[in-house]
């Protein structure tokens, strides 16, 4: 009894496909459908793709304010760093950058046309000659547009935003080096060339303070103020110790609103550092949690543990309950503060654990949340805390979220 209308060869093809489809269901469902469509008698012939239309998708420039870059240092395979672009409004995955060994994060040019990415490569994958570059990607095609070779000294560490920053005028790209001697590489983005290396003995990372200035934070809590001249020359000035470095030190994960960098300590004090090209002063210090909440163990944690909505002067912090030495633990709560008063205005219970949060920079901000050991990006309405959507399969060990 013949129950299958298809000739034997095609039956076999279907069986083979269906067998494979246990492994690759989504891809194969499409192939099986296509095979059925091609072989079935009642269907019209689909138009050919080959020879028609573009073969590569492109992106609008500048990017939507509701897009987010998920940077991933791919801890189990660090030679294969990646950055993933997601549309927060739809949850669509838009594209990838492949960014080399011990990747930290990408930076967007002021006009949104170029993506800068400090990267490290070895001539034999994980061995051989090391080359560090800043790769320039076209924001519309995500294709490589050029590269600037820099000294092979980029710090390799748990990624933080201070690993690489642009000066406020967008002209100079600053990269933190650790060999373990500490220094900052200065790259001229206009001339597209390496300019110089600035020794920052005992001081780490770079935090911009103006069009041509930044600071590094030193191990004793003092701040190294650095001014760049038009050719990238550096003038340095070191302050007295300002930031706490003792038993409750500030983390290396501050966020910025205007001239103020908001640091947070292990125990949850917010320490504002108002920093310009020539001076830095501390603002009033306040706690994220009340004394009762602190007794109950509430403290901040995570990797990208703070986010700010500069326009509305709001600070978002990942919170968890834990004891000493849990300063890197992820949290399932985000607490929201009014920066002008230090008052907490909302507590958001997250769907998933988060080690990184970020906000979009528009008038109706989205709150993005992701955990280093997961690959699900959750997208919330930042004002209400309502979960809008989740995007599965975003990266391997997602680290820093970067928004246009």
């Amino acid at each position: 009894m013949r129950i299958n209308p298809l000739p034997p060869s095609q039956v076999n093809m279907h069986h083979a496909l269906r067998a494979r489809c246990r492994m690759l269901p989504m891809l194969c469902a499409a192939v099986v459908t296509l095979a059925t469509a091609l072989c079935g008698p009642a269907h019209a012939v689909l138009p050919a793709d080959v020879g028609h239309g573009p073969t590569m998708a492109t992106l609008p420039v500048p990017a939507s304010k509701h897009w987010v870059w998920v940077n991933d240092f791919v801890f189990p395979h660090m030679a294969d760093g990646m950055a993933h672009l997601i549309d927060g409004d739809t949850g669509r995955y838009l594209g990838t950058l492949s960014t080399g060994y011990s990747f930290a994060h990408i930076l967007l040019s002021r006009d949104g046309k170029i993506i800068y990415s400090p990267e490290t490569y070895f001539s034999r994958g994980t061995r051989g000659k090391r080359t560090d570059v800043v790769t320039l990607y076209d924001a519309g095609t995500l294709a490589v547009r050029g590269e600037i070779v820099v000294p092979p000294k980029r710090a390799s560490n748990m990624p933080v935003i201070g690993d690489a920053v642009l000066t406020d005028d967008g002209r100079f790209l600053l990269i933190y080096n650790f060999t373990p001697a500490q220094s900052i590489t200065v790259v001229d983005t206009k001339a597209r060339k390496f300019v110089r290396e600035i020794e920052t003995p005992g001081c780490a990372l770079a935090f911009p303070t103006g069009p041509r200035s930044f600071f590094s934070v030193c191990g004793d809590g003092s701040v190294l103020l650095v001014n760049l001249d038009d050719r990238g020359g550096a003038h340095k000035k070191r302050t007295q110790p300002l930031l706490p470095m003792g038993s409750d030190p500030v983390t290396e994960k501050p966020v910025r609103v205007g001239d103020t960098w908001y640091f947070v300590t292990f125990d949850g004090r917010i320490v504002p550092l108002e920093a310009g090209p020539d001076k830095a002063t501390l603002g009033p210090v306040w706690w994220l949690a009340s004394p009762a909440e602190r007794r109950a163990g509430w403290r901040p944690g995570g990797l990208q543990q703070l986010a700010v909505d500069a326009a509305r002067s709001r600070l978002y912090a990942i919170m968890h309950r834990g004891g000493l030495a849990t300063h890197k633990d992820p949290g399932k709560d985000v607490w929201v503060y009014d920066l002008s008063s230090g008052r907490r205005i909302r507590q958001i219970a997250l769907k998933n654990l988060a080690s990184s949060i970020q906000l979009s920079t528009d008038s109706r901000p989205l709150l993005y949340s992701i955990f280093l050991d997961s690959s699900e990006l959750d997208i919330y309405d930042a004002a209400s805390g309502k979960l809008l959507r989740s995007v599965a399969q975003v990266g391997t060990t997602p680290t820093l979220l970067v928004t246009p």
Partner: protein, 138 residues
Amino acid sequence: MRAATAIAIIGLLTTAANAALAYSPRVDYQLNCMGCHLADGSGQAGRIPSIRRTLLLFSGSPQGRNYVIRVPGVAQSPLSDAATAALLNWMVRNLSDAAVAPNFADYTTAEVAASRPHPLAHVSRARARLLRAAAARR
């Protein structure tokens, strides 16, 4: 929630500066220096200075002693001034290639306290200058 103020920070810094862990100089060396300079102080050519070859040399001149105390690793360590002085003296005597003269002038707490608040901003430049001066003296 702005209960605490900048004054609290100052208090905390004072605590940090005094957070002298009452260990022997040997353990202080292990915890604060050895990670980079290695167990025997030899460092790594071209990357990490050798304590074995240069600490005693630098300790023979006022400029050199000032440099040693202002090197970030020394100036920024969590040790007290007294513990830092004791550690430097232990390093001179235990990690130097050359013989230490019996009349070697120990680093003092006051000496450390005077130079330490001014960490160097240009370490490699200062070091090169000292090495040139030392070579000229020979």
